[in-house]
Amino acid sequence: MREVRLSHVSPVSGIFRVQASSRGVATLIAASGLDSEIRLAELLAVPGGVEPAGLEIGDVVKLNAGQSRAVVRYRASDRHQTLFVTNQCNSRCLMCSQPPTPQEDGWLFNEATDIVNLVMHPPVVVGISGGEPTLHPARLRALLDLLHSAWPDTKVEVLTNGRRLAEEAVTATLLQGLAPGRTNWLVPLYAGNDELHDFVVQSPGAFDETLAGLLNLQEFGQAVQLRTVMVRPVITELAQWASFVGRNLPFVQAVALMATEPVGFALANKEMTVIDVPEYGNELKAAVDELLGYGLRPVLMNMPLCKLPETLRPLAAVSISDWKNDYAAECHGCELRPGCAGFFVWDNTKIYRTGLRPVLKVEREGSHV
């Protein structure tokens, strides 16, 4: 997440909105109301000469008492907005980018609530991510209800493995009375059979639970985007997966095929999980054709355009969150760049960043002469 250095340590902890900023002094307001504003403005004086700490008016930040940094939890100008609600998870995916922790972290939901209450300009889309958000069904439902009432025009996406949605009680808490069409559930499914899927998520029985979860989402009229990640075992049976999705889950709104984020568990299983796009170009093309044949809409994520076969480029999304996104030196002047996902900024595997073939405007123009 985006961090901003402060010149002084913060005397308080909590979630605040940057209300104003002048001459190196940021005025902050807390979620609890106006009373806190004055107090915080006095306490958080940043001396002149220093940048107003790189904060922007309207930013929602997290402060920790005794630390001289602010974590930007919401910035209106960002392309992707995420509410991170738990680090606990019931799966252990081979390529997890956010390895889970077992500790109770219910405060994350409280923070998310504070953030929503402080934001002045609601985003077009917000993602709820973890960990596994459905491990806390009541808290998640409260957050969804808050979002739908506070940000009525915002599309809400929940990134979930869907396993707990197999349970009747969880489904009742989460989905009963939840207006259809407002929430988009992003659910990974890695194979057309339990053996391979359960291996990828390292959890026996997970495939069956996710299937039941998907059927419950369908029953409650919820929108679903199915996802898969291009790790080696998935690529091997990608054709079978595509046809399983087309034949069994025709109700999903979109199907995302994603290159692995090279971080977390993925680095520990690098050989199996971090694979450059051209290596699976044929499998990708076949799967996309299959999905299109069933009338489904494939979306390609985290894949640099120059590494994709030309026919697949229109399906690629600019998918990497702003704060973790950058481009390589070669990308300078590439005319595909505005529509290109680029790279994860902290990716030091070099796997994705080698073999780039930028499309230079100059070359193109030259060829017309």
Binding site: N193, D198, P204, F207
Partner: protein
């Protein structure tokens, strides 16, 4: 999680041998897998002895499941079974109105049509309105209303009356209605097109092949049937859009030698669908069978050559879809039933389809009204204005219920295709009661041959022709769904 959770167990499938070394496993949810003789033995006796890849493939097709509790997969399986059997569950979806038998043609193979000046072969206004009331009593959420004849455009006034009555009916309750007019299009005018445009009416016509063949099959006094149908197609395309008109062909003995020319004719006319249909053995056609007829084997041979030509065009980027193949493939490898009423199990006559005939009676299928023309009126369900309950309780409906299921016929119960096809009591009556065993009927021999043909194609395409495989998969999707 107990050990052995993933240990494979077989779900019920039908098996059809396709050659000495390979069998097709057919799941009623719309899945096909091809197994070698050895693998088939393992599948039946000890699935765990199959290779891990085969096990995963068969699991993905719901032919194997894990031994542990799999409520999610079981529910998915059940929902697919229900989706596949949804046709005819909510009440009749297809309603065929025969406003008149009048037709300018005197086709040798035609079952029923009468001359233009013939009296007493049309519905009255009151009967048309009663038919519309009846249609609106169906519980189906989507309705298809098809006008047949004769040539319904000879009584455009009745077609218009029915469309107006249905479109503005108080019992419509927002339900979509798909209107189709089956016609030679000879009488089609610009005014009619402008009217059809308001209700998105689709036109279905007949083109038997190049002009010389079409005109031989479909004589009119002016000998220009082909030319007039083609101008009708062009008029409809210009005023209603390219997708507004489709055509189907009837195979006569003369057609058998010209499969390529027939397909090429469709391509030349810019039609993206062709329905290669055999002669109907009903009504008038039966009397001329001596002269026009051919064996099932001859038809299948013709069909194969024509289909090959259709593929040839597709390989060259001309997207022609053969409707008969699509219907069979839909049964075999699609999750959703396209609702083709002639291939349902149990038989869907009178349940998924009702025919409102010019004679004022309701029949359970197109064949039943044609059978009536040759004298056997036993399939009349009742008068057009009879209450729905009375129609459904009629002896005709009862007879179809009783003998239209596979369990009523030993051959059908043993057939690998029993989930897609069932005995036709109307067919049986047309063949002379008790004389012909179901498996010896033309319908059974042709249908079985076409299912086998499609299984062969699928096996070949999966093994060695991915682009054909994806074409077949696209054809299998119910029309209008998918890309």
């Amino acid at each position: 999680m107990q050990s052995g959770y993933y240990s494979p167990r077989a779900r019920a499938v039908e098996v059809r041998r396709i050659d000495e070394t390979t069998s097709a496993c057919l799941s009623p949810i719309g899945e096909v897998a091809f197994l070698s003789n050895e693998d088939l033995k393992r599948f039946r006796a000890e699935p765990a002895a199959l290779s891990p890849e085969t096990v995963r493939d068969l699991k993905s097709r719901h032919m194997l499941k894990s031994a542990g509790d799999t409520p999610g997969a079981d529910r998915l399986f059940a929902s697919r079974l229900a989706a596949k059997r949804s046709t005819a569950s909510a009440g009749p979806e297809l309603h065929i109105i025969v406003p008149t038998l009048q037709c300018a043609h005197s086709c040798q193979y035609c079952q029923v049509s009468r001359a233009l000046d013939a009296k007493g072969y049309s519905l009255t206004h009151a009967q048309v309105l009663a038919a519309c009331d009846q249609i609106m009593r169906s519980g189906a959420k989507v309705l298809t209303v098809e006008f047949q004849g004769g040539d319904p455009l000879n009584r455009f006034d009745l077609v218009e009356l029915a469309i107006e009555a249905l479109a503005h009916h108080p019992e419509r309750k927002g339900r979509p209605i798909r209107f189709v007019v089956a016609s030679t299009l000879h009488q089609l005018t610009e005014d009619m097109c402008r009217y059809f445009a308001q209700y998105d009416v689709k036109l279905s016509t007949s083109v038997d092949g190049p002009n010389w063949l079409h005109n031989r099959n479909r004589p009119v006094p002016t000998r220009d049937s082909y030319e007039r149908t083609v101008s009708g197609i062009k008029l409809a395309k210009a005023l209603l859009g390219a997708e507004s008109v489709s055509a189907l062909m009837t195979t006569t003995r003369l057609s058998l030698q010209h499969p390529e020319a027939i397909v090429d004719e469709y391509v030349a006319l810019g039609l993206n669908e062709i329905f290669l249909r055999p002669l109907s053995h009903y009504g008038f056609a039966k009397r001329n069978l001596q002269m026009l007829g051919y064996t099932t084997e001859q038809f299948v041979e013709f069909y194969r050559s024509a289909l090959k030509r259709v593929f040839w065009w597709n390989e060259r980027g001309i997207p022609v879809r053969e409707v008969y193949a699509s219907i069979i493939l839909n049964k075999l490898v699609s999750s959703f039933d396209a609702g083709y009423v002639d291939l349902q199990s149990p038989n869907a006559s009178g349940k998924a389809v009702l025919v409102y005939n010019y004679d004022g009676y309701i029949y359970p299928s197109d064949e039943a009204r044609m059978l009536a023309e040759s004298g056997d009126k036993s399939f009349r369900m009742g008068r057009i204005d009879a209450p729905m309950e009375e129609l459904m309780a009629s002896p005709a409906a009862e007879r179809i219920r009783k003998s239209g299921g596979v369990e009523s016929d030993a051959d059908c119960s043993a057939c690998s295709f029993k989930h897609y096809c069932a005995p036709s009591p109307v067919d049986a009556a047309a063949g002379g009661a008790g004389v012909v065993a179901t498996r010896d009927t033309e319908h059974c021999r042709r249908t079985t041959a076409l299912f086998d043909q499609m299984l062969h194609l699928l096996a070949m395409a999966r093994a060695s022709n991915p682009s054909l495989n994806s074409l077949l998969q696209r054809w299998a999707a119910p029309a209008g769904a998918g890309a």
